[in-house]
């Protein structure tokens, strides 16, 4: 699914957070967003998800087939791993039994099959975020919005989850919009890195990442691209 944003403005009270932003993302594209803290990256994702009102402009996206992964896991502490994974499907109208059955199969695929009966507080941070990634992709989204999902994780867990996201993205052929501050993460994951400016935010530069996958961390091409993204921030 393509995502087209035209002339988008979002305000928080009197404060203009996003000002006349234009953005176009092709179906199946993996796009990373970066920019200074507080520039409105999360607000942009929330606007696309329909969670904040628009002050102007338009977003053309199919909201019904949306998966979100937030910075914090946002798991329901009273639901088990299985029921948390199934939550998105239940929201979309699936029966509890059907949602659970599909969630169980999916959790096996993402390495959480042994933990279906656990509660979120019994999981490590990495496993919690793995679960939220599973919950988002389980609804068979055509657009996935990810807001700094791995920023609180250690290097190993982050690398594992980045590879999991790439794997799920490749299989589902969905469009991904991924916000991050980590240069390496941006260039490792995305087809294109969009650098946003300070608030009220607009697009400062777009850096295409034309590297073959799988990408090796620290190879010359990646380092060069990381430098060019860094120069724009």
């Amino acid at each position: 699914m393509s995502l087209v944003i035209r002339d988008l403005s979002v305000r928080r009270g009197d404060l203009a957070v996003i000002d006349r932003l234009d953005l176009e993302i092709a179906p199946g594209e993996f796009v990373a967003l970066t920019g200074p803290s507080g520039c409105g990256k999360s607000t942009l994702l929330n606007a696309i998800a329909g969670l904040v009102p628009l002050a102007g402009g338009a977003i053309e996206a199919e909201r019904g087939s949306l998966g979100c992964v937030f910075q914090r896991p946002m798991l329901l502490p009273w639901r088990t791993v299985l029921d948390n994974a199934a939550f998105g499907l239940e929201c979309r109208g699936a029966s509890v039994d059907d949602a659970r059955s599909r969630a169980r199969t999916f959790l096996e695929k993402v390495g959480l099959g042994r933990f279906t009966g656990y509660f979120p507080n019994e999981l490590s941070e990495g496993m919690k975020q793995r679960l939220t990634v599973a919950r988002a992709f389980l609804v068979e989204p055509r657009l996935v919005l990810m807001d700094e999902p791995f920023s609180s994780l250690d290097e190993t867990a982050r690398r594992e989850l980045q590879d999991l996201v790439l794997d799920l993205w490749a299989k589902s052929k969905c469009t991904v919009l991924f916000v991050s501050h980590y240069l390496e993460e941006l260039v490792y994951l995305a087809d294109r890195v969009i650098v946003l400016g300070p608030r009220p935010t607009t697009v400062v530069k777009t850096v295409p990442v034309q590297l073959r996958r799988p990408r090796g961390i620290g190879n010359e091409g990646m380092l060069g691209l990381m430098e060019s993204v860094q120069r724009c921030r």
């Binding site: 929330n46 998800a49 329909g50 969670l51 909201r63 019904g64 949306l66 998966g67 979100c68 937030f70 914090r72 946002m74 329901l76 502490p77 009273w78 639901r79 939550f87 998105g88 239940e90 929201c91 979309r92 509660f119 979120p120 507080n121 019994e122 609804v139 919005l145």
Partner: protein, 257 residues
């Protein structure tokens, strides 16, 4: 020394209770205290057993218990709805909270004359006052529960397209349980007091009515037996809510609170 402390920790409370009982029993048996003013614990328990065994209290117990259960059900529904409403909307909070706090500050006994005028005698005034007194702790706990619910969780549910009912059923209500259930213990005691107040003044049956009858007739043993029964009812309510809490709030960790 640590061993002595462990023994004191384990047996201190029951031993002190037994000491108080022994002193009480002795002072009554040796007539240090007039039997009109205070009955011996053994005689109170015997009187309670006799009253319960003869069936003399069955109707009163049923009247109080049914009024209490009805009061609590209404308090839970009304207090819960008010609390959730206040928690979800600041204008609603600003509108309702001052009334709640000021009404809660009114001495409830002072309401008795108007309650009789409004509702007459019998079940309705008991249920009204019981529900009125029980609603406040539930409303405040539900309000606190909604406010402490992470707004992020609501946002997450909305991002998946959850409707209002789904959010209420799967996010708000489970999140409220750890807050509302402890408040329900307090509310049960408040509601019991409310029901008893009405029975003292405007009823012809119920434990409150019977307490006043025995007290007026200087039937001290029976009077204290009924106080013991009321205390047992309060304990039973707290235990039932505790059981519900253990069954319904089973997830671990700090996110529960």
């Amino acid at each position: 020394m640590p061993r002595l402390r462990a023994v004191a920790d384990r047996f201190g409370a029951p031993l002190s209770f037994l000491c108080v009982l022994a002193l009480w029993e002795t002072s009554c048996r040796l007539r240090w205290v007039s039997p009109v003013l205070l009955s011996a614990p053994s005689r109170i328990v015997a009187s309670l057993a006799s009253l319960m065994g003869s069936g003399a209290l069955t109707g009163d117990l049923a009247a109080t218990a049914s009024a209490l259960l009805l009061s609590l059900a209404i308090a839970l529904a009304a207090g819960g709805a008010l609390g959730v409403g206040m928690g979800l909307s600041q204008p609603t909070f600003r509108l309702i909270h001052p009334y709640l706090v000021s009404l809660n500050a009114i001495p409830k006994v002072a309401l008795m004359p108007v309650l009789v005028l409004w509702f007459g005698l019998g079940l309705p005034p008991k249920v009204f006052l019981g529900a009125f007194m029980g609603s406040f702790p539930i409303a405040m706990a539900a309000y606190g529960g909604v406010r402490s619910l992470e707004s992020d969780l609501l946002m997450m549910a909305r991002s998946f397209g959850a409707g209002r009912m789904m959010i209420l059923r799967e996010v708000v209500l489970p999140g409220l349980l750890p807050h509302v259930l402890p408040a329900l213990r307090v509310a049960a005691n408040y509601a019991l007091v409310g029901v008893l107040i009405v029975e003292f003044f405007a009823a012809d049956r119920g434990l409150g009515y019977r307490i006043i009858v025995y007290s007026s007739n200087f039937q001290t043993e029976a009077f204290f037996a009924l106080l013991l029964l009321v205390a047992a009812m309060g304990l039973a309510c707290a235990s039932t809510v505790g059981f519900l809490e253990r069954r319904l709030v089973r997830w671990p960790g700090e996110e529960r609170a």
